[in-house]
């Protein structure tokens, strides 16, 4: 079966600064993959470049999504094709309520699951009436992000640090709901701390070091190694040298 996402030799710059240095990554349809890596290794840059955020300028390489070369496609086309990103640091949007966005998504997708998702993620009525991400706590931001991307019902979900800034109770809540959604779905889960992986059970993990995928393999083994030896070790790892 054709992979849902296939990235080859992707190099990208932001404001003239190279942030991706030849990324190769393949996610087969229906699989959840984890992307690990130290701070500033390029994980979020990859997520945003995959979605087509115009600040990330692709200088070489290709991105194929559902068998189609989308390297030059604008953001809105990629979203329309079924890609969604849960942002690590979503911007505050004054005057636009979380409920406004959900209503638009509901009208657009005909989704009847929003009320259920709102309840299961324990998003309060009060939060729905507040300006999007404005004054939200870390946990509220993550819940609002999860609620929106799940309501979009994407074919490929990119989760950028869904576990950062979330307390234990909310992590469990989000982990459970994301896990339920991802059954049989494709996803790339970016995590620095790896807490969320306890719930999402990725099939494969990739480690990103300095703008490249340094190695990939069994998530448990990779995590075990990282926890024992740290990301510094990854930089010296022989497989990293050959990737």
């Amino acid at each position: 079966m054709e992979p849902i996402l296939e990235v080859r030799g992707l190099r990208a710059v932001v404001d003239g600064r190279t942030v991706l240095r030849g990324v190769d990554l393949t996610i087969p349809e229906g699989e959840v993959h984890a992307l690990l890596g130290p701070n500033a290794s390029g994980k979020s840059s990859l997520a945003q470049a995959l979605l087509g955020m115009p600040t990330f300028q692709v200088v070489s390489g290709t991105i194929r999504f559902k068998g189609r070369d989308i390297t030059s496609l604008p953001l809105e086309e990629r979203v329309r094709m079924g890609m969604a990103l849960m942002f690590q640091n979503p911007p505050a949007v004054r005057g636009v309520k979380l409920g406004d966005i959900l209503r638009i998504l509901s009208e657009r997708t005909g989704s009847t699951t929003i009320a259920r998702l709102t309840s299961q993620l324990q998003v309060s009525e009060e939060l729905l009436h507040r300006d999007l991400n404005y004054g939200f706590s870390g946990g509220e931001k993550k819940k609002a992000e999860a609620l929106q991307v799940l309501a979009m019902n994407p074919d490929l979900l990119i989760l950028d640090e869904p576990d950062s800034g979330v307390d234990v109770e909310n992590l469990e809540l989000m982990g459970r709901e994301l896990s339920r959604f991802l059954e049989g779905k494709s996803a790339l889960v970016i995590t620095h701390t790896s807490h969320i992986l306890k719930y999402l059970k990725p099939k494969q993990a990739h480690v990103m070091i300095e703008g490249r995928i340094a190695c990939h393999g069994d998530p448990e083994k990779i995590l075990e190694t990282i926890l024992a030896k740290g990301y510094e070790w990854c930089k010296k790892c022989p497989s990293a040298m050959t990737s």
């Binding site: 955020m53 953001l75 329309r80 969604a84 911007p91 998504l105």
Partner: protein
Amino acid sequence: MPVRDDELREALRKPCPYGPDLDLSSYLTEGGSPESPGPEVSAVGIAPGGEGRAGSFLQVDHSALYAQIQKMYEDSLEILSFEEAVRRYDWLEEYVWKAVSPTADKYTAFTALRGKGGYFIRVLEGKEVVLPLQACLYLRTRNLLQAVHNLILMERDSSAQLLTGCLTHPQTDRGLHVGVSEFYLKRGSRLTFTMVHHWGPKVDVRPRTGVVMEEGSTFVSNYVCLTPVASLQAYPRVWMRGRKASAALNSILYGRGTSQLDLGGWIEMEGSQHRAEILGRTVTADEARVVMRARISCSGRDHVGHVECNGLMLSPQSEISAVPELVSRSSTSNLTHEAAVGRLNEEQVLYLMSRGLGRKEAEDLLIRGFLDVRILKLPEFLQQQVERIVSLAMGRGM
């Protein structure tokens, strides 16, 4: 002491320091039509048959067509044409031209000398008028100068919401509307005054407003103008007396085409423990020019005042000036202001696009969010009305 005619005639030559100066002789001052307006009045929130309103006033050109009150409110309020009220009540002398000077500029002077119509609304002591009142001032005849005088008297401990919709006939492409409005809020009274304007791109507008507030009264003024106008200049003044009164002047403006808007407000707090707020949200497109003036001054003790002017520019050919001004003669009071003028935030646009919105949809949503009528803190009913007006205006113009 009454102002003499020669002083008024002298003032006819006095331009306003703000906004473009207009030649009053270029407009028709007589004639006009008494023909009723059509359903277009709903664009400014007016219910044509007065349904759901405690009372209604309608003036077309120079003619007051009706002033009516729902039966259940007959013992709560009065609505008359201004001339009728002056004829009926000698005591109105105490109020007429006391909150606005007739010699302030050529527009007030013209209204004092040759103004026709306007409304008188009085809410009686202790009466709470729950349903909104509405007043519609309609300019039908091309090139007419409509100069009206309104007087609103809120007696002690009364409360009401007044929606005033001003507009032109869709084919009336030139004209001048001058509206002198004097508000008196007696002790403990509360008034939410919402004015929605919908003029033509060659119509000039000069509202002149004065508000006198007594102890414990509350005045909320909301001004909404989202459609093109040749020029609009207004600088309402509010005097807060006694103690513990609360005043808010809010405006939501959308400057388009070659519109020139110069809108502001001056709240002056005397006595003690008043609260004052001036909030302005302005969007400019095309070649529109907007000045947002906001001044809060205070003397006495323990007042709180805040000014907020925010502008969003959609076109590099447009211009916004924000002029917040705080003047304090009270060391125990606290006055603050914030002002910001900028363009749409690209990060926010892209974020909304990542949720599946097209660029234009995302931008429209952000503009609507910027013009969020919830800042007006309207009663639920009026909020729905004003939201509908914003939706209509946005749908037409964007």
